[in-house]
Assembly symmetry: C2
Homo-oligomer: 358 residues x 2
């Protein structure tokens, strides 16, 4: 297969982790006789520094022509301190989501057996957890009308029926391929937009009689995710709640440096770790590249390259099993760098049967 | 002191737990020679059943005349299933908050030494945690304009400068009496309303040079609350984020049945457990009354009855220490009921030096 991949490393640790994902994708291409080409583009704070805007036209055009987008991270504290700034790095990311209508954000949350003791949660609490979060990504309060003055400010959370329907069908289909359970998280006891979600999702549930639908208020879900995470299979929720719950859910996995995501639209798809730019960790070789590498695996899944994706995941499992991990997860070895983790998984792909500590 | 207390037991387990709080307040009145009178009123689903509305005029008038309001819980699944209903039990609670402009919701989150092993989190993770959440309660997306049609729905999150300023001063003052640290939780990288919060709180911080201000994005805060809860002293946040984070924080304490809250306005104050109506547990004698009893302690604090409040808290500590707790917390005795816990704390107040298992 030929795949033309737009690479947007972004800010902070974005470039370092993305470099590992590319390394791994190149190994896959070699091993499976695919042709993957990579075209880099600017986004975020680095784009502001060089072009004045967080999402330059050139970047949009490169992404538009690509088969998929591999995204690193975005944001820089130097742009965070002025709440009145009208141009901010995050607009690069939000602009991509909106421009390409990437409305379904998929975030797997898996408790790896080899990492159970790394979590803040008790092992018995999380063992076996496997959740797929479907977060609406192109609407809601992120993109509603905004007003800001010195005296008041407002944001509108608006959802159209069609925006809810399209992701809901995808979430039900995902549940059909898993444990047949879907939990809608909303705040229908307070929000009108949540009541529309609940009405539509309940309606659509009738088309998927083999899936059990549960509805849960977001405050309760934030608690249940910690006290009983195994109750969840697929979680479906709106943009802001999905942002909060998916980052919270990273505690189950043991490190936010492991969480990958796919942002899917009808014509475009973007793959990115859910962690941020962690400017403080930049260029220290300590950034965990696994979230970015697993995002590359989700990219391959998206093009039905399942064996390829599975091989990457095996490499990740092996790295975790042998403690070939960055310091956020490593209590055994103290100097395994970002690059070293990438190299290990690359080697594994080249020689799945032989890879060892070397 | 004379205190006229409006009692709104509400729905589900509300009446059971409130009865224990009243019992305890009566014991305090006796012991300290105060005159506490209690006047009951309807709110929520039970009010809808009897009067057709969740917040009857009579209830408003009883609360208006009272010195303080003691609230139980609200909600009933029989009213949850119709997302299109225009009258809902929760409007009773929201109506009280709005009518009496109860803009500051204070939620303490304390990891009791005797309960550390009850939490889903590892003991070393939570030991020593003591957080005070200041949640804005009378504005934001809860009370902004709402629209609902079959095809789209929206909610507005709007904040005025004055609404942010008043709670911010209270939160900074609270931090001055504690560990001198305030964490503002917002989503200033996306929301205009959050940027106004950040601008105002940063401004006001200059008036409190002895308090360190930290700003944190809500998604990150949802993670940090679990992986490093001890970093927090006072958390200040807007209405919806406060709803989510405070229920999430209950996992630190070990049971949501322990979390009390105060909702303070300039002229009125209401005290309520943060747990809901748990209709399934109703009349089974298993509802944990401690959150309601600790809410009564917050009521006494509000009127500067500090010794009285402290005695209640000692009684609670003793109950926890001796395993006089409902099944949600008890692994030692299996039939300690709601009433039994209330009785124990009542006895303790009557005879602080003599109370034992009896
Ligand atoms: C960087 C920020 C705008 C973004 C979001 O809020 O969606 C991030 O937190 C995420 O979850 O991808
Ligand atoms: C019952 C509900 C409306 C309420 C809220 O969302 O504020 C509750 O969750 C709370 O936190 O007091």
């Amino acid at each position: 297969m030929k795949l033309n991949i737009a690479v947007l490393p972004g800010d902070g640790i974005g470039p370092e982790v993305t470099a590992q994902a590319i390394k791994v994708l190149k190994a896959i291409a070699m091993e499976f006789n695919h042709v993957f080409t990579f075209e880099k583009a600017l986004v975020g704070a680095c784009a502001m520094d060089k072009t004045g805007v967080p999402l330059p036209e050139e970047t949009i055009s490169i992404c538009d022509k690509a088969d998929a987008i591999l995204f690193g991270a975005i944001g820089d504290p130097k742009y965070d301190n002025d709440p009145l700034a009208t141009i901010r790095p995050e607009q690069g990311l939000l602009g991509l989501r909106k421009t390409f209508d990437l409305y379904t954000n998929i975030r797997p949350v898996i408790a790896y057996d080899d990492l159970l003791n790394k979590s803040s949660l008790k092992v018995k609490q999380i063992k076996g957890t496997n959740i797929l979060i479907y977060r609406e990504l192109a609407s809601g309060i992120y993109f509603g009308d905004k007003h800001f003055s010195n005296d008041e400010a407002s944001d509108v959370c608006k959802y159209k029926r069609s925006e809810i329907e399209r992701i809901t069908h995808l979430a039900f289909k995902a549940a059909q391929g898993r444990k047949h359970k879907l939990t809608l998280v909303d705040k229908a006891n307070v929000l009108a937009s949540s009541r529309l979600w609940r009405a539509i999702v309940t309606e659509i549930a009738k088309d998927y009689p083999d899936v059990t639908l549960d509805c849960m208020f977001v405050d309760n879900a934030a608690m249940e995710l910690i006290i009983n995470p195994r109750q969840f299979d697929v979680i479906l929720t709106e943009n802001m709640f999905g942002d909060i719950l998916s980052e919270e859910a990273s505690v189950i996995v043991g490190s936010i440096g492991l969480l990958a995501s796919a942002s899917i639209g009808d014509k475009h798809a973007m793959f990115e770790p859910i962690h941020g730019a962690y400017t403080k960790a930049k260029n220290k070789g300590i950034a965990n590249p696994i979230a970015s590498i697993l995002s590359a695996a989700m990219l391959l899944d998206h093009f039905a390259l399942y064996d390829e994706a599975a091989l990457i995941r095996e490499g990740v499992d092996k790295a975790l099993n042998l403690h070939i991990t960055t310091p956020d997860l490593n209590t055994k070895y103290d100097n395994i760098s970002t690059t070293k983790v990438g190299d290990f998984i690359e080697d594994f792909i080249n020689n799945p049967d032989e890879t060892n500590l070397n």
